[in-house]
């Protein structure tokens, strides 16, 4: 029987379903807003009103002059800056390498970066303090002992940076992953390489500029984490900003709540700036 070379049949994509809006969404938003705002309003009221003095902004006025505020805040900011740099320097090239060279390892990387959410911080601290203690004994006779000691310097406890890097991985990974999913990384990297770019140039001129929002998101989440992390710092005996807030709450409750509210507002401000920057870009 005579036959004909078959020809391809064009395939048409089915339209995607569109999500509905309306009253249901508004109700959910309202409930969520009430859930978050009520405690905030009560905390804010506590900072400006008490039965003996009535309305007063004194708690906010005392912040700058409070003993230990500036040093603990600056320490936390410095720790956050170091953590952000290390997280990004470690994570971004690793994620890029996996996407370009071994996409099959992506689930492995994802699982590893999720582990800090699963392991309780207290377990983590016990591990760190045991390592520091036994490490000091084991390294006592070697030049590394001094390194171990300097990691625990009170003025800048680098050991906290190392701990925060691990704790920040889940958040930074997800933010960067969302950014990398939004661009055709492989093609962009190959295009840049084809045009003569070295690997550092690929990173600085192609990847990072196209991941601005994700990098800012990862940095912000890391900053928020460091400014709010209490367990590790307290149990290792360092006076970071959150530890100081808890310490001061024993003697001046209004001041500590006022500071918590201010740091929350600072975080919101940063988030707002980020989302505005992201919108402008798109």
């Amino acid at each position: 029987m005579a036959a004909v070379t078959p020809t391809a049949v064009p395939v048409t994509a089915a339209p995607l379903p569109v999500a509905g809006g309306g009253w249901g969404r508004r109700v959910v938003l309202l409930v969520a807003a009430v859930y978050f705002l009520v405690p905030m309003v009560i905390a804010a009221t506590f900072t400006v009103y008490n039965e003996a003095q009535g309305f007063s902004l004194g708690a906010y006025g005392r912040i700058l002059s409070a003993p230990g505020f500036v040093s603990s805040f600056l320490l936390s900011l410095a720790l956050a800056a170091a953590t952000i740099v290390i997280v990004l320097v470690l994570l971004l090239p690793a994620m890029l390498a996996v996407r370009l060279g071994a996409p099959g390892l992506r689930p492995v990387l994802e699982t590893i970066t999720t582990l800090p959410l699963i392991v309780p911080p207290i377990t983590y601290v016990v591990g760190i303090s045991t390592s520091l203690r036994e490490g000091a004994d084991a390294l006592a006779a070697t030049p590394f002992w001094q390194t171990l000691i300097s990691l625990q310097d009170e003025n800048f406890p680098f050991v906290l940076v190392l701990a925060y890097v691990v704790l920040a991985l889940p958040f930074a990974y997800r933010s960067l992953d969302a950014g990398l999913r939004a661009i055709d990384v492989v093609t962009l990297v190959e295009a840049a390489r084809n045009l003569g770019a070295s690997w550092p140039q690929v990173m600085l001129r192609v990847i990072m500029p196209n991941l601005r929002s994700s990098l800012a998101g990862a940095a912000f989440l890391t900053l928020a984490l460091v400014l709010g992390e209490y367990t590790v710092a307290a149990l290792l005996g360092y006076q970071t900003f959150p530890v100081w807030i808890v310490t001061i709450s024993g003697s001046d409750g209004q001041l500590s709540v006022a500071l918590s509210i201010l740091s929350l507002l600072l975080a919101w401000l940063l988030l707002l700036t980020l989302s505005r920057a992201g919108r402008k870009k798109s």
Binding site: A2, D184, E190
Partner: protein, 353 residues
Amino acid sequence: MTVEFRGLRRTYGPTVALDGLDLTVAQGELIALLGPSGCGKTTALRCVAGFERPDSGMVLIDGNDVTRVPANRRDAGMVFQSYSLFPNLNARDNVAFGMRVRRRPVAERHSRADELLELVGLAGRGDRYPHQLSGGQQQRVALARALALAPKVLLLDEPLSALDAKVRVSLREEIRRLQLELGITTVFVTHDQEEALSVADRVAVLKDGRLEQVGAPAEIYDRPATPFVAEFVGTMNHIPGRVTGDRVEVLGQLLPIDGTAPGELVDVLVRPEAVRVTPAEAGPALIMASSFRGSTARLRVQLADDSQLLADVPGHDAVRLAPGLRVDVSVVERPVLVTARAATSDDESVVSA
């Protein structure tokens, strides 16, 4: 500059992507690597670009072995299948990217970028960002970017496949015009036979990582070296035939055989334009359908044994050769390619003309 593939082999686990590819692209030539998905054409191109390292064999550019040279030192401009413009840069800065990496002065790279944008028909659009450009415009910018450093070789990896039909045709003509104007050696990967035949000096047809045939477009189309090439390039009718000496009997005619016959019972491969259809009141065949294409019309004709074949006739004959008309069917007298009879062919269904 010439490009040579010498015994190129590349495997991915058990899959053989390239199986000893030997091919030379002459200076200033545009060669199209044509084949179905998975035939190894893109892998071959990526070996030239430096994105793939062959397991064995060599890639030579202008006689120099570049097999181990990193991609950023290959001096080969490439246009990708997917849109590859840097989203954070406007069209001018995209074109100037390679020059910026090489630290050329700002004024020089801007003037060169504007010059190239003009060359690809995008003068005055240098300030637009990729998301402000259409798909065709983006690929034009990508082409200008690939040419900005005056590379030795231009590599085109299915650059038109994401575009709509009209833009695809105009851009491929533009690519050919530019290639001839600049005299740049070009390797063009495509799975679209029409695209390959229309722009290339030579077409290399690949199958399972091996070169099936390389030749001028007309040679590939008219004198396919293998049944695969005959099948892949263009539409082909398979008509049962019987070999008699050095000829084959098909549709009541005795035609010379191109090559050697694999046996007595064969399928004769005949292109639709080689099928003649003439009206005949008591003709043994019936026109079932007609598809008007402007300059030609494609007819689906049912033979006496109920099998069907396709025939291309001049467009102005479409009205005369309408569905329902009884016709005589014959094949243009010239050597035909034959293959072993397919399992579905029916020996008894040979049409008497």
